[in-house]
């Protein structure tokens, strides 16, 4: 079978000391019946990706940045049978925290995490699962060759 590959027109800015990493925490709040999700992304990385369509965007200054970042994360972070909403983001010097929330009766059984993986070579995404604030196990790693994984609660 022939598989088609799609080319992405993306050039990452010159950076001698670059590394590419994100971490997402998913907390299942059983009392509130919600998933509380915090995706932490490197500000330079997401900014560079969004500049493909919004030249010179600055995530800590442009008013449209929050809606663009939210849309990107919602599209790239797909929980099976769960559709979170984006509450907003908080921008630091290095990282952006993006806050998502979803009402759930039961936690999702799998996750497809493509955050920045398609745009940045070497991108690695770690995910931590928590139940009522308690960590459930080691971090789950997503990268180019592993973008979908089962979640065990």
């Amino acid at each position: 079978m022939r598989c088609l590959m799609l080319l992405a027109a993306f050039v990452f800015p010159a950076e001698a000391h670059q590394f590419h990493y994100s971490k997402t925490e998913i907390n299942w709040n059983t009392a509130a019946k919600t998933l509380e999700i915090i995706a932490t992304l490197h500000a330079d990385d997401i900014e560079a990706v969004l500049r493909k369509t919004h030249a010179q965007l600055e995530v800590d200054r442009d008013k449209q940045a929050e809606s663009l970042v939210c849309a990107y994360v919602l599209k790239s972070f797909e929980l099976r049978s769960v559709r979170p909403r984006c509450l907003g983001m908080k921008v630091g010097r290095d990282f952006i925290d993006v806050f998502l929330e979803a009402r759930v009766e039961a936690p999702p059984k799998s996750l497809r995490n493509r955050i920045l993986i398609e745009q940045i070579a070497g991108q690695r995404n770690d995910v931590e699962l928590k139940k009522d604030g308690k960590l459930l196990g080691p971090r789950i790693q997503f990268n180019t060759s592993e973008i979908r994984k089962d979640l065990r609660w």
């Binding site: 992405a8 990452f12 010159a14 000391h17 907390n27 600055e58 907003g88 745009q119 604030g133 080691p138």
Partner: protein, 768 residues
């Protein structure tokens, strides 16, 4: 509940003998099993030994920058001095440009991306459009013009010598080369060319541009580990005479001192440079308007800029007709150092405002913690490279937007990167560590000093690295590497070699050693290894030697493992002295009983009429006996018991003293000092700082006694967030509910934020 503490005359406990010291594992065992054996080249105290040696290479180079075809054409005469005790039959040189050969290891070892969205930059490498980078090396010849046999092994080249080079002897040889300069928009790196389509000009930042001698040293022999793109450079010191030929309308910034200003600068530019030497603020040598006018010029020929640099381990330069140039003299202990910045109009207004100030600030702060900056020049250049360091010159990327406004993040990114890259002059350009092997030994130390310099730039500077709380997310879990991981194999270079190392050193300074001891020892390390090549053990040993502190536990935990800090206050128990004196003890017991809660049944039963009230004859001795009456036999027993103690020991039987036993559990694995903030019921507060050695016999669980006449209301572990404790929810007694990051965000989001509202009405930061 208060537990009574019975004092005994015999304090020896046989339980101690039954404990197995190896379970749990001894985290304080010495590092001798790991560190190299000291020798006459490197001492056990961490200093260069009495027979320390290092090689030297002096370069005489002619290079031409081809602005039409974006290529470098060079010829070098290299004088290699063998200061080692070994005869050398061949020499190794580094050919770093070869990582951009179409079939380099860097390219071939790249793993597959996501096939559904293949980055175009990576895709090029598999198509005919691949960049034809890499060196074309011409014949290598000795001083007499005889060709020498050479063998190129990817990014390394061996030159075979006609006869072994004896210790103390030198060998002169020549080599010529050329290569295509990478267009940084397509292939980014530590060097490259940036094209500006609006005016048709280029900025060149040229580095790793000549065959450089590989290092030969007492630890690794030849350091010819292949360059794959991450592990930077391991180099020898030497003197450089470099003649750079460029279009005659270019401004060239370079390592070294310009030898022929009369030929390459105008009289006005030379006069401005003279003024700048003693100026109180940066002076424009080429103004922005002049630089903009230059953009429109066409070169009428070439100019050769001659630079000399003494005792440097590398050489880099930048060239463009787009450069504005400012300069200011900096007094480095009675010697003038010229701090200079080169930038295109696209860098303003940020660059003219901050770059040279940041250079001088760096020299001030770094020199205080290490040694006086020894070079005559310190340069920061804006071009295609995001941030990269070379002797006396560095390349820095941040720029404002096209509309000349910039965000706070961009502003601080520029100041920080200038501090960082200028700071690299100290580590590794002068303290010449082996970057190919250990990234952290220069990047981590430099990031630590960068944090100190940023702290003195302005209050509340938004530093990225240094504060322990900022490393917590990285330290959680066990998926990160130990700091002692080779440069090319570290997964998260920034989090590990830069951030974790900088934080560890800051904790060592603030929490373990204190500023005075740390600063003395650190300065000693810098002084000992200035213009020499230290290894990790030399840092570890010097810090212990000069501070007078065994830090093997610290290096072992922070540098050789990926454990983290998570200490929990599990329990607090209150003890007071059991004096055995019935007069005292029965009174205390009576008071305790009186304060016991009355059960619900007892409360409800109290109003019920009792039978003994109707029949008083039922009342006997026991109804009237006060159980707290002291009996003669009890007094007698006390008198016998107390005789076992000496008179001065009896004075210690103070029933008003409270002994709080604080149970601490080490969940994360790293042993660390224990810092406890104790709040008392009378409103007072005390802080207890206990050295990490509290864990030396049991690194999993210990009990700490707090003796006080006051009653403790609460205890907080690590109250100043100085240990990078990854879970602060267990740092409180009694436990406190800690709001999650998610809860805090939701609450903040719903609040009216007057600052945000007012800020929205202001001009964007940096707007002119």
């Amino acid at each position: 509940m208060i537990r009574r503490l019975l004092l005994g005359a015999i304090l020896l406990s046989l339980d101690m003998a039954a404990q197995n010291k190896r379970s749990p594992i001894d985290k304080f065992r010495q590092l001798e099993e790991i560190l190299p054996t000291p020798n006459e080249y490197r001492t056990a105290s961490g200093a260069p030994g009495h027979k320390y040696w290092q090689q030297r290479a002096d370069y005489d180079i002619d290079v031409e920058l081809d602005d039409v075809n974006q290529q470098i054409i060079g010829r070098a005469s290299i004088n290699y001095h063998n200061n080692s005790p070994d005869a050398l039959t061949y020499l190794w040189l580094q050919l770093d440009q070869n990582i951009w050969e179409p079939h380099s290891d860097t390219t071939l070892t790249e793993t597959a991306p996501d096939w559904k969205k293949f980055p175009i930059g990576s895709f090029r490498r598999y198509m005919d459009d691949v960049f034809q980078g890499g060196y074309h090396i011409g014949p290598v010849k000795d001083a007499a013009g005889n060709e020498l046999h050479k063998h190129i092994n990817r990014t390394m080249m061996r030159v075979d010598l006609p006869a072994p080079l004896a210790p103390g002897k030198s060998f002169v040889f020549t080599v010529n080369w050329d290569y295509k300069i990478n267009n940084s928009k397509r292939i980014s790196g530590r060097t490259g060319a940036e094209f500006f389509p609006k005016d048709g000009n280029w900025i060149y930042e040229i580095a790793q541009w000549f065959p450089r001698m590989a290092a030969y040293n007492d630890v690794n022999g030849w350091q010819h580990k292949q360059f794959l793109g991450t592990g930077e450079f391991t180099l020898e010191f030497g003197d450089y005479k470099v003649r750079i030929t460029a279009p005659n309308d270019h401004i060239v910034a370079s390592t070294g001192v310009l030898q022929n200003p009369e030929q390459v600068l105008t009289a006005v530019q030379r006069q401005r440079l003279t003024t700048a030497r003693t100026a109180k603020k940066p002076v424009m040598i080429v103004t922005g308007a002049e630089a903009t006018a230059n953009e429109k010029s066409k070169p009428a020929g070439k100019k050769t800029w001659i630079f000399h640099a003494e005792n440097v381990r590398d050489f880099a330069f930048a060239s463009s007709r787009k450069f504005a140039w400012d300069a200011q003299g900096h007094d480095a202990g009675g010697r003038i150092v010229m701090a200079m910045s080169y930038y295109p109009k696209e860098g303003n207004p940020l660059w003219e405002r901050y770059s040279t100030h940041a250079i001088i600030h760096t020299l001030n702060i770094y020199s205080r913690y290490t040694f006086q900056y020894p070079y005559p020049i310190a340069i920061s250049v804006n071009g295609p490279v995001g941030g990269m360091e070379y002797p006396m010159i560095c390349f820095n990327g941040p720029r404002p937007k096209d509309d000349k406004t910039y965000s706070a993040r961009t502003k601080y990114a520029l100041i920080s990167v200038v501090i960082h890259e200028v700071g690299h002059n100290y580590f590794p350009m002068i303290v010449n560590s082996d970057e190919r092997q250990w990234t952290w030994l220069d990047e981590g130390i430099n990031s630590f000093l960068q944090f100190l310099a940023e702290s003195e730039w302005e209050g509340n500077y938004p530093s990225r690295r240094g504060e322990p709380a900022k490393i917590v997310e990285y330290m959680k879990g066990d998926s990160h590497d130990p700091i002692m991981t080779n440069s090319e194999t570290i997964i998260d270079l920034g989090g590990n070699a830069y951030h974790k190392t900088a934080t560890a050193l800051n904790i060592l300074r603030e929490t373990v050693l204190g500023r005075e001891r740390f600063d003395f020892a650190f300065k000693e390390y810098a002084r000992r290894w200035m213009f020499k090549r230290p290894m990790p053990a030399d840092l570890f040993r010097t810090m212990e030697d000069a501070s007078g502190t065994d830090l093997d536990w610290f290096w072992r935990g922070w540098f050789y493992t990926n454990e983290n800090v998570d200490i929990s206050i599990d329990e607090v128990k209150l003890y007071s002295v059991d004096t055995q004196n019935p007069d005292v003890e029965k009174l205390i017991t009576k008071k305790e009983k009186e304060t016991e809660p009355v059960t619900l049944s007892a409360q409800r039963n109290k109003p019920l009429r009792k039978r003994v009230e109707d029949y008083p004859e039922l009342i006997d001795f026991y109804n009237k006996y006060d159980e707290f009456t002291v009996l003669p036999s009890e007094k007698k027993a006390f008198e016998i018991w107390v005789k076992q103690f000496e008179e001065d020991e009896r004075k210690l039987f103070d029933p008003s003293m409270n002994f709080y036993s604080v149970s601490l559990r080490n969940i994360g694995g790293l042993v660390m000092p224990v810092i406890l903030a104790v709040e008392f019921n009378d409103g007072t507060r005390e802080e207890l700082r206990v050295a990490a050695e509290i864990w030396r016999r049991n690194n999993l669980q210990v009990e700490k006694i707090i003796a006080t006449r006051k009653e403790i209301k609460s205890i907080t572990l690590d109250p100043h967030l100085e240990t990078a404790d990854i879970d602060v929810s267990n740092n409180y007694w009694p436990r406190q509910a800690i709001k999650s990051k998610f809860q805090i965000f939701k609450e903040d989001r719903d609040k009216v934020n007057p600052m945000r509202e007012l800020k929205d009405k202001e001009q964007p930061s940096g707007q002119n």
